[in-house]
Every structure is written in structure tokens, then in C-alpha cells.
Amino acid sequence: MEEFIQQIVNGLDRGSAYALIALGLTLIFGTLGVVNFAHGALFMIGAFVAILMGDVLGDIRELGSADDFFKLVQVVEDPTQTDFLGRPLAVETSYWVVWFGENVGHWLSDWSVPIAVVVSIPIMIFIGWAMERGLIRHFYHRPHADQILVTFGLAIVLGDLIRAMYGANPIQAPMPEALSGPIDLGIYLGYDIGTITYSAWRIVYFFFSMSIIAAVFAFLQFTTFGMVVRAGMADRETVGLLGININKYFTLMFGLAAAVAGVAGVMFAPIQAPSYNLGMEYLVPCFVVVVVGGMGSLPGAVLAGFLLGIVQSFASLPSWKTGLVESLGLDDTNLLANLIIGVDQIAIYLIAIIILLTRPRGLMGRKGVMED
């Protein structure tokens, strides 16, 4: 039972990352009718905003590689210490420490990721705006295949620009000291102390995702802007006929979707050390999520995100797999036994196939969307 609860929590946590990316993808697809393969790259850029803020705010990579792209540090040679070649050590001190003292400086670097969330919003909206104006806008009337391809090209370019700046190695972003350990969830459910513990930051991430998702839904539900957008998602031509220039809303919509992907990336940076390839890694599972949810359906995307997250978590749980293998009386060298043990490799694809074959347009897709 503890194991079950733990994996449910795991699945919700992993699913919330999927759901956030898929939500942005669906926002863009639903309103603009554009399939954006560069969305994973926006997630990745968000994660690197966290790295950038870590550099700017202080000593995130005191141990890091020499490729810090942007640092605000005062360099003082300390003759009492030596570097690896026996030369006087160049001690780097964050200017925040120099200017505001140890406490403030340390606090800033400790909380650099939450600060980066705030900073990333304008940055991501700007990037989204630039992408829409500069590129996507010219693809509204092109076939979906062209949109997929040009944004795929863009994803490659954005990934490699980040690689040129930060190198290919993953770089860890720090999480605030206070949230870096586990929280005991079990005691709230009546278990003994230490039975069910879970990383505090991941719980923060889960609630953060939920509030972002709720905010997006509320925004679409209760604002005029959201109403127009929803109407546009349902029937673009009619909205156009009503004399509303839906195009005006598109740029902002794209910016919003980029910001959702961006903050998802920022908050994810302490969980998985981002590398330039992060976007591509998440692109495929997230597309599977979007399609399983049904193209163009926001609730579908969120639902499928959580569903696949939970599926993946349970697929990686060893106890039921070994149990199943034993109850089938298979030995270790048996191919079927190995397939059962290795089901976590393919779980989300297997589920995706099953769902798409039983529900032709995914969980909540509408007819005629992206079917030709």
C-alpha cells in the first residue's frame, strides 16, 4: 500500500511536468492551429533561464565547469591558496555578496530558481512573441506538415545555440536549501514516521503545476480574452465572421504558451539537470501525451499527462513485475520475463497505442482535427 501511494505521488509528479508542456502545446495548437515542435525547446530554454539566474545571482556552479556563460563575480587572487597548477587561486565572489553582504548574497543564490520563475516570464513571453511574429505567423495557412517541419528545424537551432553557449554537459540548478530534502507525507495519512517520504521540491513542483494549470483554465474561462480564444478554438471562422480579429490575440496566446513552457522548465531544472538536449528528450513523450489526450483538447492534454505519468511510474516499480514473472513460472533468461521486467522502457508507447486504437481521437479529441 505504501508503495502504491508512493508511486501514485510519483506519477502525479511526473505527470504534472508532462501536463504543463502538453498544455502549452495544446494552447498553441487549439488557438493557432499550429503544431509546434519547438515547444520542447521552449521548456529547455526555461530550464536554462534557471541556470542563467544561478550564474547571475551567485555561486550556483562553484564546482561547475569552466563554461559559465554569464557570471557576476568579483575575481580576487588569493596567494594563500593555489589552483590546480600551483598558481595563486583566483577566488570568485558574487557581486551580490560584495555589495549586500554574505546573508543577502547567499539568500539570492539559494533562491535563484524561484527568482528565475519571475524573471523567466517576461523573457519567455518575449521569445514567444518573437517566434510568432518572426516565423509562426507565416505558417498559419501552410499545411500542418510544414509547421511541424519548420518548428522542428527551429528546435534544432535553439538547442544548438544553447549548446554553443553552455556546452553539452547537463548542469544542475540548485534548489533552496529548505526544500532540498524529503518531506514525510506518510504521517498525514496515518503511517509511521519515515514510511512515505517524498522530495519536498517535487511536491512544490506538483502544486506549482496545478496552480499554473488552474490559472490557465481560469483565464480561459473567466476573461473576455479567454472567451474569444475558446470560441476561436471551437470555431475559428465564426469568430472571424463576428468581426473579431482573432489574429490580434494570437501573438499574446503564443507568448502565454511559451511562458507556461518556460516556467515549467525553470522549476524542473533542479529536478533534472538540463542539457541542450532536454527539449528533444521531452518532445516525443509530450507529443504522445498531446495526441493521447486528443489534439486540441486542453482537459485531454492534462488528463493524458497525469495518466501517462502514473503509467510510467507503475511500470518502473519492480515488485509487481517480479511477482508476475514468478507467478507465471518464468525464469530469468525467458524473453517474456525480460519483456515484463523491461516494460518501463516502452510503457507509455504501449499505452498510447492501446488508447489510440480503442479511442480513435485520443481521450478527448474532436473529430476532423489533424486527421488528414
Partner: protein, 450 residues
């Protein structure tokens, strides 16, 4: 923009030299004269550095490339000579190899076996290289080694840690300086026993591919031999990114040691996530839960930041060693590139020098001659103490480092501290050891090509 290592004049000169070299017919016609693939006939000889320049191991590959360029410089008599000054053999005099200046070409393996082979093939066919060096994964090493065997050129493996490279997939034309999974297990066990006692219960998370399997097997065997119990072994998909769903079951499994048979980005992520999940804060029946990372990479360790503090692992070499060879190499590398070399860089550097020296001693570039010169070759002064290239499987035998993440690093490169230098005798095994292909494993015969 003076950061570039090339001055225009220098390049024009090598360009001209290159031109002269290229005018020589490609290897087939040459082969008909001298009886082996890509026999050099002009005043230069070309070697190929096949390393990952894109993909997840790009940084490691680029570090290997730096070391290889440095090795070529030293062989050609430029720079300060590095380890040539401390190497126990003194055959290389800075005039290249057998009087021929060394040139090199580079290729990108992308850490994909297919691409690596295609790249090696391009070097052999088009550039006429006589030896291929480098790489950052066992899959690539095994694949390229087999190709070099067929083509009749030498292969000096870079970073490859799986038993198979010099085990069941060993080849006569291939040599490995780097240590392997078995040695990691053998070297780690006594240190772990000292630090954590002999009643521990281990839980393995293992990357689901060949290297993971051999590493898990090695660590499992050696820890069980000293009395540890293996609670569970779980395979994880390569590049999973998020390992949390594998880590949380560890907490209540009754295990008190978590072994992460992961490398590279997987290691950074699984280690950080294990610490976030509270593995190292946990007490199991009164003992503190611990994490072990059998194979460390200092480049990746930097990515994991302070999470590696106090975590044990093993390495082939580390720049913080105190011997003269290490000092000379670190100085030479550090002055040129502004950073200490990684152990991947070290192994590629050493392999290049060893090759050059073997050719000199053999008096020929013919791979069969070079193989003979390297087999059971004993040397010292390359940073690992007295070392032997065993003839039976072309594996180097030398001391193995057990290291630990440093608690209070003094500078950004000071991430690991050396806990113990496990003597070579402790990590030795028979060439027909069952983990290395048993009695069936065979080098075959050396292939000079054409």
C-alpha cells in the same frame, strides 16, 4: 581573438605538409607495396581521433580531443614534452614517429556505434589513417575495434569501461588502457568494507545496456564476496531523465546502500534525485544509508555539484595524483587549455604516446609489429605507476583509484578526493575469467590489412 591555437603561418605550413601527404596514393596502392593498410610513404603519418563531438558525451569527447592534440604536439617536438619526460621509455625524441611528422584528423562518433564506425571508416578510407584512437562509450569502442580489426589498422580505445571491450569482444588490433568494470568492483570492495562494514544490504539501479550489466555484475560479485547482501537489482532505461520512480521504492526496501550503475547524464540525474529523495538522510536499522557510484567522471561530477559529497566511486586516473608523470601532464594540459585534464583525456593522451612508442620500438607501422611491441609491454611514468599491457587480452593492468566526492572543495576543479590507490595485484584476473568471455574469448590474429 588570440584564443585560437592556430597561427595563420603555422597552419599554412601544415597545410602544405598535408598537401604533400595527400598526394600519396590512397592506401590500396600503397598497400601493395608495403603489405599493410595505409602504410605511410611520405614524410608524414596520419592518425585518427574518433571522439563524440555532439550528443550527450560531447564535453568528454572534446576533452579527449584536447589531450590528443597535445600528445601530437609532444610527439612532434612542440610544447614542453609533457609525459614524454617521465615515460620510462625514451625512444620518442620529438621528431615524430620513425622520423615522420604526425598529423591527425578528427571524427564525430555522436556516441552512436553506427556513426562511429562510419566515421572511422571515413578516416581509414579517405584520410588514410594508420591508427584510430578515442571514444567515450563501450558500445562505440567494441564497434570501432571490430572495424579496425577488419580494415587492418590499430585501435587504441579511449574511455570504455565495460568488461566486453577486452573480454568477449577483444580483438588483436585493439588495445585498452582504461580500466574496467571488474577492476572497479575489485578496487571498491575493500574500501567499502572499511568504510561501511561487511553487513550491508545493497540495492542496485543499473543502466539497461551492456556496460550497466557488466558493472552491476562486478560490484555485486565483489561486495557479496565480502558479506554484503544484494536486496534488489533494477534496470533503468538509458536517458530516463527522471529516476524518482525507481528511487522511491529503495527507501522502504530494507536496503542500506544504493549502488547507481549509471554514467554521464544519467549519473548526474539519478544521484541528485536520490539525494533529493532523502536517501542519504535515511537511517535503516540504525545505519546511515549510503550511495555508491562505481564509475566516476569528473566532468559529469561537476554537473552534480555538491550532491557527490562523500559518495564513493572509482577512476582510472585523477589529476590530483602526486607522481611526476601526472604533474607533468597536468601542467602541460593546464597551461594550454586552462583547466585540468579529465581521466578520459588522460587515457587518450597516454594511448597516443604508447602507440607512438610501440611503433618506434617495432621499427614499423605495420599493425602486427606494433601489436607485438605492445603485448606484455611494461612501462611506468604515465601517471598510473608500473603498468603492463597484458598480451592475452590487450588490457592494461595498473593501480585503480578509489575516490570520494570532496566535502569542502577548494576550487572548482577540486571535486573529488583520492581515498585509496588500490594496488594492481588486487584487481588482476585471469584472461579467461568467465566475466570476460571465458575460455571462448579470443583475440584472433593481428590483421595488417590489404
Amino acid at each position: 581573438m588570440s584564443t585560437s591555437n592556430f597561427t595563420r603561418r603555422g597552419v599554412l605550413k601544415t597545410g602544405a605538409v598535408a598537401g604533400a601527404g595527400l598526394a600519396v596514393p590512397t592506401y590500396l596502392s600503397a598497400a601493395s607495396h608495403s603489405g599493410f593498410t595505409n602504410a605511410p610513404t611520405g614524410s608524414t603519418v596520419k592518425i585518427g581521433f574518433n571522439v563524440p563531438q555532439t550528443g550527450p558525451y560531447a564535453e568528454e569527447g572534446l576533452d579527449e580531443l584536447r589531450a590528443q592534440e597535445l600528445a601530437v604536439e609532444h610527439i612532434n617536438g612542440m610544447g614542453d614534452g609533457g609525459m614524454l619526460n617521465t615515460f620510462s621509455e625514451k625512444n620518442l625524441d620529438g621528431t615524430g614517429i620513425l622520423g615522420k611528422k604526425v598529423e591527425f584528423v578528427t571524427g564525430d562518433t555522436q556516441t552512436k556505434s553506427d556513426v562511429a564506425r562510419a566515421s572511422a571508416q571515413q578516416m581509414i578510407e579517405r584520410e588514410g589513417v594508420i591508427m584510430v584512437n578515442g571514444g567515450s562509450s563501450s558500445g562505440v569502442a567494441v564497434a570501432v575495434q571490430a572495424l579496425c580489426q577488419e580494415a587492418g589498422v590499430m585501435f587504441m580505445a579511449g574511455l570504455t569501461h565495460s568488461n566486453d571491450t577486452t573480454g568477449k569482444d577483444r580483438k588483436a588490433n585493439g588495445f585498452r588502457h582504461f580500466f574496467n568494470s571488474y577492476m572497479s568492483g575489485a578496487a571498491l570492495a575493500p574500501v567499502l568494507e572499511g568504510a561501511y562494514g561487511n553487513g550491508r544490504r545493497a540495492y542496485h539501479l543499473t543502466a539497461d545496456y551492456n556496460w550497466g550489466y557488466t558493472t552491476q555484475e562486478a560490484v555485486q560479485t565483489s561486495t557479496e564476496a565480502m558479506g554484503w547482501e544484494t536486496v534488489e537489482t533494477v534496470l533503468t532505461p538509458v536517458g530516463a531523465g527522471d529516476f524518482n520512480s525507481y528511487i522511491t521504492p529503495v527507501l522502504n526496501s530494507g536496503a542500506d546502500v544504493l549502488v547507481l550503475n549509471h554514467y554521464g547524464g544519467d549519473m548526474v540525474n539519478s544521484l541528485s534525485q536520490a539525494i533529493q529523495a532523502g536517501i542519504r538522510d535515511r537511517m535503516v536499522d540504525g545505519t546511515q544509508m549510503e550511495i555508491i557510484v562505481p564509475l566516476y567522471s569528473e566532468l559529469m561530477a561537476a554537473g552534480a555539484g555538491s550532491n557527490i559529497e562523500g559518495v564513493f566511486g572509482s577512476m582510472n586516473w585523477n589529476w590530483q595524483l602526486q607522481d611526476a608523470g601526472t604533474a607533468a601532464f597536468t601542467k602541460s594540459f593546464g597551461e594550454k587549455y586552462g583547466r585540468p585534464p579529465s581521466n578520459a583525456a588522460h587515457t587518450c593522451y597516454v594511448q597516443t604516446l604508447l602507440y607512438a612508442d610501440a611503433v618506434t620500438r617495432a621499427g614499423t607501422f605495420n599493425p602486427c609489429g606494433v601489436v607485438e611491441a605492445l603485448e606484455d609491454f611494461e612501462f611506468d611514468g604515465m601517471g598510473n605507476g608500473a603498468t603492463t599491457y597484458r598480451g592475452a587480452d590487450h588490457q592494461c593492468f595498473k593501480d585503480v583509484l578509489v575516490v570520494k566526492g570532496k566535502e569542502n572543495p577548494a576550487n572548482q576543479y577540486d571535486t573529488l578526493e583520492i581515498v585509496e590507490v588500490t594496488p594492481r595485484a588486487q584487481v588482476e584476473y585471469a584472461p579467461d575469467h568467465p566475466s570476460f568471455g571465458g575460455a571462448d574469448a579470443s583475440l584472433g590474429t593481428c590483421n595488417p590489412g590489404a
